[in-house]
């Protein structure tokens, strides 16, 4: 079992209304130190086998055809992540 993580962000030149809304709320809670907030999307795609190069290529293809709209968004990363076993306290989190 492996997991592919896809991160997508609104393009820098495009106003991000959701990020702006979050930015407006932060100072009201005392978080005045953050000058800007941008909000993106994270997808977790699970595969039964290992995250091979083919799987990553397919994930990238899915990212540019369905998961993102290239007019307004950038795919900032497509990467494999071994599934962390949260129950096991000896696990120090994903290696890479």
């Amino acid at each position: 079992m492996a997991r592919v993580i896809v991160d997508i962000m609104p393009k820098p030149e495009i106003l991000d209304p959701q990020g702006k809304a979050v930015q407006g709320a932060l100072p009201r809670l005392g978080f005045g130190q953050f000058q800007a907030v941008r909000q993106g999307k994270r997808f977790e795609l699970e595969v039964t086998g290992p995250a091979t190069a083919e799987v990553l290529a397919a994930a990238h293809q899915a990212a540019v055809t369905l998961l993102s709209n290239p007019v307004i968004e950038d795919v900032v990363s497509v990467r494999a992540e071994p599934e962390p076993s949260l129950e096991d306290p000896t696990t120090q989190g994903p290696a890479a």
Binding site: P10, I14, L15, P17, Q18, K20, A21, L66, L67, N69, V71, I72
Partner: protein
């Protein structure tokens, strides 16, 4: 009689209104289901407003891959008149039949108002009944209505006369160049955020000079197609 197909996706809201608008304009309305692969002999297609597939992921992003869209995309490339209204406009941009994309309104709120528009061109299947520069008023109601496109795309749209409608008086959502609607190079595919199908019948439209709720400026969209197709058949 011209047959207008009106697509229903899961989450579509305005399909019945669009079917009624088509009938009031003198056409025949045909319901199309998102799972259909045939257009049942339709001469034109309307993608109505709503929240297709819950608008999850992005507005229109999942609807764009519905079986009926494959057929519609082919037909649109072949010249069939296609109108995308609100969510339907978002489906058309996601389908790459029209450039650009819609993001959340710049003020971040849902908006519902009677919206004045300037018709910029009558050289499309859906605006041939209007004159360039004509002002019309039809309802606008959405949350993701801010039209965005790259500088290069905007320059192309402007240079080729493909901006079909511009917001008049006040830009209600931050759309670039006040753009409310655009067309493809052939003029058969048009998308816009405001709703012509809600301004087709006295008593149920926007206020107008003729009286309260008397506005019928939306009718011209549908009579335009009837004229456009009839002229094509006669030519």
């Amino acid at each position: 009689m011209i047959r207008f197909g009106v697509v229903t996706f899961p989450g579509t809201l305005d399909d019945r209104d669009a079917l009624r608008a088509v009938r009031l304009a003198g056409g025949e309305g045909v319901s199309l289901w998102h799972g259909d692969r045939t257009l049942h002999g339709c001469d034109a297609v309307i993608l109505p407003g709503g929240f297709s597939y819950g608008d999850y992921l992005r507005a229109g992003a999942i609807a764009r891959f519905a079986p009926v869209m494959e057929t519609i995309i082919q037909a649109a490339r072949g010249g069939m008149p296609v109108l995308g209204i609100c969510n339907g406009f978002q489906v058309l941009t996601e389908s790459h039949l029209l450039p650009g994309a819609m993001i959340k309104n710049n003020h971040r709120a849902f908006i519902c108002r009677e919206q004045p528009l300037r018709v910029e061109t009558s050289q499309t299947a859906w605006t041939s009944a209007f004159s360039p520069g004509q002002e019309i008023v039809i309802p606008l109601k959405n949350q993701d209505g801010q039209f965005q496109a790259s500088d290069r795309t905007l320059a192309e749209l402007e240079a080729e006369g493909r901006v079909v409608f511009r917001y008049q008086g006040w830009n209600p959502n931050g759309s670039r160049h006040d753009i409310a609607g655009i067309t493809n190079p052939a003029g058969n595919v048009v998308g816009l955020m405001p709703h012509p199908e809600h301004a087709v019948e006295p008593g149920f439209g926007p206020d107008s000079a003729a009286g309260a709720r008397a506005g019928q400026d939306g009718l011209g969209f549908f009579t335009s197609v009837i004229n456009w197709l009839s002229a094509g058949a006669a030519a």
